[in-house]
């Protein structure tokens, strides 16, 4: 399958000479349609810079970024706003809804920016917000919405123009764990059902299990590219090379979050009836 978004040998350098800072160094990344990628890493590792470049908000110092075959590093400044409107949906840590507009108007506005007429924008916004269970909150100002509702409005806003890629910056940071998990499940559902690529930058370890891939960014580069596995006992998502234990049985390799889970798994194997 062709990647929807490709980042090839991208670097970003701020300043020059003694004040030069290499925020991102020679990073490459390809996103498949419907894929959820989680980018983690310590503060100052370059996550924000990476996300900004992926979303055509920041030009890389080197390398190319292609979306649907178009190299966005070659586009003029005046072409970037339309590219962002049509290809990217943004979700922010602080929700970033416009405080003077209602939930419905926040979503409608982005459709109108892309050229939709008022009636069409309203119809589409109502449809998405209703899908997200917000039909009773359409005319509420953001200040009257809960954190989870605000983030769902923000997701609706990100989806209104049917972008190929959704970029989420710490989407669960201001939500409690239950709501945060629901939001992430919603994002995963959108990715799988609508075949949109989702890139999430987060510190939240709890959302690892919804990602198809977890990338660890440190000192401006991906240090490990860990494929995820699910613990067959407790169901927890874990990185294969960071698993506490593993086991090969009948040609298949299993990864566990703890030795206890592996012991339980082994006990289960012993008590299983022997094949005839």
């Amino acid at each position: 399958m062709d990647p929807i978004l490709e980042m090839n040998h991208v670097s970003k350098v701020y300043g020059e000479g003694a004040t030069e800072v290499k925020a991102v160094q020679d990073v490459s990344l390809a996103l498949e349609p419907g894929e959820v990628v989680l980018v983690m890493g310590p503060s100052g590792s370059g996550k924000t810079t990476l996300l900004s470049m992926l979303g055509a908000l920041l030009r890389p110092s080197q390398g190319e970024i292609r979306i649907d075959g178009t190299d966005l590093t070659r586009l003029s400044e005046s072409q970037l706003p339309r590219l962002r409107l049509q290809n990217f949906g943004f979700i922010f840590q602080d929700f970033n809804l416009l405080s003077a507009l209602t939930a419905l108007e926040n979503v409608m506005l982005v459709a109108q920016l892309a050229g939709a007429r008022n009636g069409d924008a309203r119809r589409r916004a109502v449809e998405i917000l209703t899908d997200f269970g917000l039909q009773g909150r359409l005319d509420f100002l953001p200040e009257k919405l809960s954190g989870g509702e605000k983030q769902r409005v923000a997701i609706a806003r990100a989806l209104i123009n049917e972008p190929a890629v959704i970029l989420a910056d710490e989407p669960t940071a201001n939500l409690d764990s239950k709501i945060g998990f629901e939001i992430m499940r919603l994002l995963r559902q959108i990715a799988k059902e609508q075949r949109r690529s989702v890139v999430v930058v987060s510190h939240d370890q709890r959302i690892r299990e919804i990602a198809d891939r977890v990338l660890w960014l440190e000192d401006g580069g991906f240090k490990t590219l860990a494929a995820m596995a699910s613990d067959p006992v407790c169901g927890m998502a874990i990185e294969k090379d960071r698993a506490a234990a593993s086991l090969t049985w009948e040609g298949a390799e299993y990864f566990f979050c703890s030795r206890g889970c592996r012991a339980e798994f082994e006990a289960g194997l012993r008590s299983a009836p022997l094949p005839a």
């Binding site: 996300l51 962002r84 922010f92 970033n96 405080s99 506005l109 920016l113």
Partner: protein, 370 residues
């Protein structure tokens, strides 16, 4: 973007009120001043407009009454009368001079009219008689009230005492009032019976005043003859020329106050939403769209401010004559058009700095932690 502009404005009622208050005060200043001068222009030509004359004949090249002097030989009256199309000729004497009533002193156009005047006398009598007669004066009712005198009261004009025999309406303005005395009394005061100031001509029915005026100038030497309308226009022009500088200064003051208030409120309003504009920019809004939002905010503010100013000034036009008979405010269309244009200029100029700042706003700031 209009909806966003409107919501941004109305979300903070206190800021909106300050903005509207400041702008409307500035615009009221401009509208009221214009209304005062328009009213004054109309009142200042009240005598000419209501004189009943179709043509004003004056000394050659004298084209108005205010701050002007005209002298015609009495003999000119007969020569003018002989011109085709002339129905009647009324000589009047005129001077601008103070009227003293007790301790009260007010400037007036003193008009000397003959007792059989076909034109040039008071046009609306409140009480008393129309013909001042010997030793009498017809005074503006407002001036008389201010001086605390009525019919039978005495005033001093050009050094002589006159008895108030009539009170007239619509004969006062900020520039002064009109007082009527007899032509003979006026001539005695001047110690000159051989000259008059103007000849007021009534044209015969069906005659065009322009043609008759041209005929007078062709047939009578050393005079200028103008239709009533042209004479009034010249009179207004003189008053306007005298007040242009004051009007210009006050208009500039009003403009600057409005601009300062609007610029401050648009700037602070935009600054407080800097993060939101950054989000819009990140989402894909072009600079033009964001600029349009700012301009709409300013335009909506000044439009509301203008409406408030128009209502306030209209109320003043009703209330002012109740407080002062000599003051009349008239809101003219040119004045409204001027203030509308000024309002739009204020909105445009006030938007420049916020637009410039938004154009420089980096959309990538949305991902930076606050």
């Amino acid at each position: 973007m209009i909806r966003l502009a409107w919501r941004n404005l109305t979300q903070n009622p206190a800021r909106l009120l300050i903005s509207l208050g400041g702008v409307s005060v500035a615009l009221v200043l401009m509208l009221t001043l214009d209304a005062i001068f328009t009213g004054m222009e109309q009142r200042v030509t009240a005598f000419i407009d209501r004189s009943g004359a179709d043509i004003f004949v004056s000394q050659q090249d004298v084209r108005n009454m205010h701050m002007a002097s005209s002298s015609l030989a009495r003999g000119q009256q007969a020569r003018v009368k002989s011109v085709a199309g002339v129905a009647s000729v009324t000589p009047i004497l005129y001077v601008t001079n103070p009227i003293l009533a007790g301790k009260d002193r007010s400037l007036a156009y003193i008009i000397g009219v003959p007792s059989d005047a076909k034109a040039g006398g008071p046009w609306e009598i409140e009480s008393g008689r129309e013909d001042p007669g010997a030793g009498g004066v017809v005074l503006d009712v407002g001036v008389a009230a201010k001086a605390g005198i009525g019919l039978g009261g005495e005033v001093e004009i050009l050094g002589d005492t006159f008895e108030v025999v009539g009170l007239s309406h619509g004969t006062a303005s900020m520039a002064g009032s009109v007082a009527f005395i007899s032509l003979d009394d006026f001539a005695d005061l001047r110690q000159d019976s051989d000259t008059v100031s103007f000849l007021l001509v009534e044209t015969a029915p069906g005659e065009a005043p322009e043609q008759v005026a041209a005929g007078i100038e062709a047939r009578v030497r050393d005079v200028t003859a103008m239709t009533r309308q042209e004479f009034a226009r010249q009179e207004r022009k003189v008053v306007r020329d005298m007040s242009t500088d004051i009007l210009a200064i006050m208009n500039i003051v009003g403009f600057l106050i409005g601009l300062a208030v609007m610029a401050l409120t648009v700037y602070t309003g935009t600054l407080s939403r800097r993060a939101e504009y950054g989000v819009l920019k990140a989402l894909g809004a072009r600079n033009g769209k964001l600029a349009a939002t700012v301009v709409w905010q300013a335009v909506i503010s000044v439009s509301l401010g203008f409406l408030i100013a128009l209502i306030l000034t209209s109320l003043l036009t009703v209330a002012t004559p109740l407080a002062s008979a000599s003051l009349r405010l008239v809101i003219g269309l040119p004045s409204v058009a001027k203030v509308v244009v000024t309002s739009l200029v204020i909105a445009g100029v006030a938007s420049l700095l916020p637009i410039w700042q938004m154009a420089r706003l980096d959309p990538a700031t949305v991902f930076r932690r606050r």
